[in-house]
Symmetry: C2
Amino acid sequence: MNIQKPYVLFLGDVPDQLAAKTGDGIADWRPDWCIGQVRLPGCGADCGLPDMTVAEGVAKGGKTLVVGVVNQGGFLPDHWIATIVEAIASGMDVASGLHARLGSFPAIKAAAEEHGRTLHDLRHPTRDFGTGKGVKRPGMRALTVGMDCSIGKKYTALAVARELEARGVKSSFRATGQTGVLIAERGIAIDAIVSDFIAGAAEWLSPANDPDHWDVIEGQGSLFHAAYAGVTLGLMHGSQPDALILCHEPTRTHMRGLPHMPIPNMADVFEPYLTLARLTNPAVRFVGISVNTAGVAPAEGDRIMGEIEQKFGLPTVDPIRQGPGRIVDALMAMSGA
Amino acid sequence: MNIQKPYVLFLGDVPDQLAAKTGDGIADWRPDWCIGQVRLPGCGADCGLPDMTVAEGVAKGGKTLVVGVVNQGGFLPDHWIATIVEAIASGMDVASGLHARLGSFPAIKAAAEEHGRTLHDLRHPTRDFGTGKGVKRPGMRALTVGMDCSIGKKYTALAVARELEARGVKSSFRATGQTGVLIAERGIAIDAIVSDFIAGAAEWLSPANDPDHWDVIEGQGSLFHAAYAGVTLGLMHGSQPDALILCHEPTRTHMRGLPHMPIPNMADVFEPYLTLARLTNPAVRFVGISVNTAGVAPAEGDRIMGEIEQKFGLPTVDPIRQGPGRIVDALMAMSGA
C-alpha cells in the first residue's frame, strides 16, 4: 500500500463516536500521520484532531482525505460526495474503507480522472484467495474475539503486538479490517472477502512462521452478533489460534446495531468459541480478558475487572489504561519464553 | 432467471462423482430439462444422461451448455475453455455456477459477443444485500445442516419441499447454492456473497411469511468444515430456523477435500449447531436425521439408520430411498398441522 501522508480524516455526519472508529484508530495509533478532521454539521463524533475545512487541510499539507467512518453495510451517503469531490479537486487523494467503491460514484470517479488523483478502496481485495485447508501451520497465533463487535478487538491486538515488539519478541500484527489495514499498511479487510474464501484468506494472512513467532490477529465481529458471526468463525478457523483474548466493554447493553439483542453473559461465551476453534487447533485456550473501561470511572473499572478476573480465573486488563502486560506474560508462558 | 432449455450438461474431466454434483442435481430433479452430457477424456463422473458431443447436443435441440461441476475454489480449468467456446460458436448459451465468471475468460467473452449468446454466471449476485438484523420473522423455517459439506443437504431440502407440496402445505424451497438455484430457477449462491452480508442475504432469501408457511432452506457447508463453516453459520443465523435436519453419509471418512480432518462424531454436532442457532431463534430444535445410504447395501443402510435413530431419538430416514415423510410429519407437528 502506498497512501500518501499526511492524512485529513473525514468524519461526515456520523451519529456517534463508535461510527468514527476508523478515524479514532488512525488518530490513536498513527497520530503523526494525521493533521486534522473534516466534519459536517450534526456530526456526533470527534477524533480529537483540529477541525478544518478541506481547503485548510490542503493548505496545511494534507495529501489524502481518509473517510474515517464505519457503518452497517459500508455505504457512502450521497450528501458526503461533495466534500470528497472538493478534496479531489483541491489536490488530495482519497482513501475509504467502506464497501461502496469510491469509483462507483460518477462524480468522484470523474473528479479523480480530471485531477489525476488516486482513489484507495481499502476494503476491496487486490488478489484472489483459495479455500481454507485447515492444515496446522508452525508459529504461535493469538486472536482477539469479542462479546460484541466494535468492542476493542483491534486496540487489544495492537496493544499486545506493541508490547511484544517492545519486549523484543518475534511478532506481527495482522490486520483484518479497514482501520487495521490503514494503521498497519498491510492486511486484508476480511469482511469484504467472498464468503467461500474467508478461512482461506485468514490462512494466507498469517502464514507458517518460526515456532516462537507470535502473530497477533485482529478479530472481527462476534460469534454472538446476528449479522457478522460467519465472518468471525471463518476468520477464527483460518487463524487457528493458540490463544484467544476475549474483549469486553462493560457499558454495552445490546449488540451493536441490534437494539433487540442483549449482550451475552460472559460465562456463556467461552465454550462456544473454544468448541469451534478446536476444529483447526485442538490446543486453543483463552489467555486473558481485555476490558475497555473508558466508559466508566477508574475505580469502577478496577472493580469490574477484579470481579471478572476472580470469576473466570484469567488475567483481566484494560490494555490501554494499564497496558496488556499480564496478557503478554501469559502468551510468553505458552510459547515457553 | 431466464435460462433457455433444454440443457446439455458439461462435466469436463472432473475426478469423481461428487465433483459433478451440480450436474447430478439438475439431472435428478429436472430430468425433463436435460438432453445429454458432454464429458472430456478421463472424466470420472457420469450423470446418467446420454453422452454426446457439443455438435450432437446442438443437433438434438440443446439451448444451453450448463457447466455441471463444483470444485474447491470454483475455478474453470483452461483446458475446458475450448469446449465452451465450441458450444457458443454452435449457438448455445452457457450457464456456470463457478466463482470464476465466464466473461472473465477472453476467448469465452469474445465468442459470446461474436455469436450473440448469453453467459449466465449463477454464482454472482445480481443485487446488493444489507447486513443481518436478527429480528424474528413470522413463518416456519427448516434448514438442512451437515456433518460435512456435499453430504445431501440440497437433496434432503428438495425432498422435504416436494413432500410438503404433495401434502398441500404452504411451503417454498429456498436455494442457497448454484445447483439449487438452477433447479429452483431462483435463490442465492450464498457462498459467493461478500462475507459481511451472508446473514443479511439469508434474511432476504426467506422473508416474513404466513405463520403456517414452511420455508425449506438448503444448507451450505458444515459447521465442522475448516473452509466453509463461516458460510454455514451466517446462513443459519439469517435463516433463523425453527427446525434443523442433520444430514449424514455413512461412508464418508474425512471432511470433503481435507484428508487430514476426520468426520466429527455425530454425538458432538447437535449442541454446537443448537447453541449457535439459538442466537436468532431460541426455539430451534433438531427434527430429524437424513442419511444418504446410496453407498451401502439396503440392509446395511437400514441397520445404520436404526442405530442412529435409537441413539439420538430422532426420525432417521434416507429421503431418496424411503422419502422424507417421517421428517415432514415432525415439521407438521411443530406447526400444529
